[in-house]
């Protein structure tokens, strides 16, 4: 049987290739695949799993703005206690890609939730300047809060 020992290399070689090429095709495929799996989990409402998968995608590619944006979205859907982390994710995503439309919208929504309406309005204006469809969604959130505020008197 010893002459068949090289068969053990069949699984080892792909593992070595994957481990030794961190930034070329393997790793880029890896971060995209984790991201795509995260999106699937998010669609199914499994935010805990989505967070784990986005974190793995970010481990492979720390400046992955889409993953940061979705991480923020999933975190705030798990529980209110993650709002701060969620805000940090959006901020990081916007540092990497300042015109990331979805991150601007989600960050704006979070501002609305925190009562920071002026900051939310800044995000809205930026989205409007970009003719982004996300502007209308953020505007709807802002309008609803403003309408509720008017009823306070």
């Amino acid at each position: 049987m010893t002459k068949y020992l090289p068969l053990l290399l069949v699984p080892v070689i792909p593992l070595l290739i994957a481990a030794s090429t961190p930034s070329v095709s393997t790793s880029s495929a890896k971060h995209e695949k984790f991201y795509n799996q995260g999106v699937e989990a998010q669609k199914q409402g499994d935010y805990q799993r989505a967070v784990k998968l986005y974190e793995r995608a970010l481990k492979a590619k720390p400046d992955f703005a889409d993953a940061l944006n979705n991480l923020g979205y999933s975190l705030r859907n798990i529980a209110k206690q993650y709002m701060e982390q969620s805000m940090q994710s959006y901020s990081k995503a916007l540092q990497i890609e300042k015109d990331h439309q979805q991150a601007l919208e989600y960050q704006g929504e979070l501002y609305v939730w925190h009562g920071q309406l002026l900051k939310a309005n800044e995000n809205y204006k930026q989205l409007k300047r970009m003719n982004s469809p996300e502007a209308a969604e953020l505007k709807a959130h802002l309008d609803r809060v403003v309408a509720e505020a008017k009823q306070l008197r």
């Binding site: 069949v10 699984p11 792909p14 481990a19 393997t26």
Partner: protein
């Protein structure tokens, strides 16, 4: 340090698979079956042990190994490498071939007998009708040496089918590590299985081994005399 990381991540499934491999091999060996026959009865070993052994093996693989290996690492099912399309097509063909190989060898080894159903049925018949013939079954790998058909090409077609199936599955970390574990088991298991077959069939098996490769067909070979 990747190796250490993998060892610390997968130690539970490594240990479970090693224990499974040892138990799976030991329970198929004649000394174990002889001891079982002394403790319980020869009738039990001849008629019921094979199906119990298979049920335990299946349960062990499904509820123990798979849970510890794939179940504990749900995030490691992502493929680590994107194979080029031509290579991927070739792997898909090999994957289908492995299923066909498993099917052919399963049929040739007499699957009812391999799963232990034939022995079980005969045992039930003998219990319900004690006057039934006491002629034993001509069992594959114990009383009957299969050396024709697919067994005329390779000595361990089922193990080879398992290897090809796993090697041509998606290259995720979980699959590749399991393939490594399986290949280790395949080599050790085949070694002990051959020792057992030589003890039972003697020179006939030695001659068969001389002519037929364990996992790869020999290009230049002389026909096996049945």
């Amino acid at each position: 340090m990747q190796v250490l990381a993998i060892l610390s991540d997968y130690w539970a499934s490594f240990c479970a698979f090693a224990l499974f491999g040892v138990l799976h091999s030991v329970c198929a060996q004649e000394p174990f079956k002889d001891t079982l026959a002394r403790w319980i009865s020869q009738f039990f070993v001849d008629h019921y042990w094979r199906s119990i052994y298979n049920a335990l093996s299946f349960a062990g693989l499904y509820y123990w190994i798979a849970v510890l290996h794939w179940g504990q690492h749900p995030d490691d099912n992502v493929w680590l490498i994107d194979y080029p399309q031509p290579l991927w097509r070739a792997l898909v063909i090999l994957h289908l071939f492995s299923i066909a190989l498993a099917y052919v060898s399963f049929i040739q080894s007499d699957y009812l007998e391999f799963l232990g159903f034939k022995q079980l049925w005969q045992g039930i018949r003998r219990l319900s009708r004690p006057k039934t013939s006491t002629e034993g079954l001509d069992l594959f790998g114990t009383q009957r040496l299969e050396i024709k058909g697919i067994y005329g090409w390779v000595r361990h077609p089922m193990l080879l089918a398992g290897f090809l199936f796993l090697a041509t599955s998606g290259p995720s970390q979980n699959n590749l590590i399991f393939l490594f574990m399986y290949t280790t088991y395949m080599l050790i298991g085949a070694y002990y299985e051959e020792r057992r077959l030589i003890r039972i069939f003697g020179e006939q098996y030695v001659e068969y081994r001389r002519q037929v490769g364990a996992f790869f067909p020999r290009l230049r070979r002389t026909p096996v005399n049945a």
